[in-house]
Amino acid sequence: MMPLESKIEGLLFFKGEEISVKKLAELFSVSVSEVDQALGRLSDSYVNRGLVLVRNGEMVVLGVSGELSPLIESIRKEELTKELSKAALETLSIILYKNGVTRSEVDYIRGVNSSFIIRNLLVRGLIEKMIDPKDTRRILYRPTTETLAYMGVSTISDLPNYEEVSKSLTNTLAELTTQE
């Protein structure tokens, strides 16, 4: 049986964002003081490790040890300035022309999995997530306003061959629905 601190560790890693001690207690069906103790043990276990447990009042989050921040900075810079690959440009073009598309739709159109590329486009602020208004469980991707501005396009339908392209994308996706 895995100790509580390990369960909390896995959860914090997965979430990648702040979570309250109270919420942790609820999730694991334990008391707040049990969570407190587990957090203490988790924090101790990170001595000389690459991770650190940051606690801000009632909120906790997992972070990278401060010693590594120069390295993280340089990697982040590299990520942001690296030239976009052909695959990334293709993915961006689908998201531009389709304006509101799920990851699996992008995958289907490209014939390969696009999760890493989408992640990178998100980090670079080129695309953003939105909840599908028709189905709140679905996440759609769309270009950010900055991207449109950068391209000098005031509205999506100004893109070259907009009608034709969006029609053939829609037709391809219709096949996906009939298949399922």
Binding site: L84, I94, K129, P160, V165
Partner: protein, 257 residues
């Protein structure tokens, strides 16, 4: 193309995606090992299934049937040798038989492994973190992003979307000699007649007896399916027990006789 009775038949026949799956299932049903003896044993059942496929299974499409036929040719060789131990086979034919045994063993290993894969798949998933929100997005464009490059990229995307009907796969096959002869004969006759009846074709091979005629029908049938696999001819069968009409492909206007 399908009558009501054939549909009921479909329901009762377990569906096999490929010839190796069917063969292995026939051998395993008999609790046999994969070898020449067990292959000879199941040949009749295999041929019966293949025949029912080509007659009844509209959904499979004739393209799939051809995979079954390829293996059927080798099985007929194996069966012939089991009946006539003196029958001399060419090196090529011997190789084909060995190759089939190998493929079946490989397939058996994979089929068994896939049972374990099915059990483990999704049972205890290792998750990777959500999209990182600990380093919020910073707008970082790339000089390549312009209307021109994006328009070009989307054209590449559309160009690479696979067409719905892909051509029949061109896998390499070493044909059994008898089938080869049938094919060249069939091809020649198609050149001349452009449209002929299957019965007429089988008959024209000059069978001496009823038994021999039956063999001709089977071999001709296999040869014909081989041609279909290669996309050379189209087969039109109006009803299960009716005659099959053969046409050269791309000539739909001369279907009627």
């Amino acid at each position: 193309m399908e009558s009501r009775t054939t549909r009921t038949y479909n329901v009762r026949t377990p569906s096999f995606e490929g010839p190796l799956e069917l063969l292995l299932s026939l051998i395993e049903q008999r609790k046999l090992f994969v070898n020449e003896v067990s292959l000879a044993d199941v040949t009749a059942d295999y041929l019966a299934y293949t025949k029912s496929l080509s007659e009844n299974d509209e959904a499979k499409g004739i393209g799939t049937v051809s995979y079954f036929v390829l293996i059927a040719a080798t099985l007929i060789l194996i069966k012939s040798r089991s009946l006539l131990p003196n029958l001399a086979l060419s090196n090529d034919e011997e190789e084909k038989i060995k190759d089939l045994e190998h493929r079946l063993r490989l397939y058996q290993i994979i089929k068994n492994a896939s049972v374990d894969v099915k059990t483990s798949f999704g049972a205890k998933v290792i998750f990777f973190p959500n999209d990182r929100s600990w380093s919020g997005p910073i707008f970082a464009p790339d000089v390549q992003i312009s209307v021109t490059t994006i328009a070009r990229s989307i054209q590449d995307v559309i160009h690479n979307i696979p067409k719905k009907s892909e051509p029949l796969p061109a896998i390499e096959i070493k044909k059994v000699i008898n089938i080869d002869e049938m094919i060249s004969s069939l091809s020649d006759r198609i050149q001349n007649a452009m449209n002929m009846s299957f019965r007429e074709f089988a008959k024209s091979h000059g069978a001496e007896s009823v038994a021999e005629a039956r063999v001709h029908v089977i071999v001709s049938f296999l040869a014909m399916l081989e041609l279909v696999r290669e996309g050379l001819i189209d087969v039109i069968q109006n009803n299960s027990f009716e005659d099959i009409h053969i046409n050269k492909q791309h000539s739909p206007e001369i279907i009627t006789q």
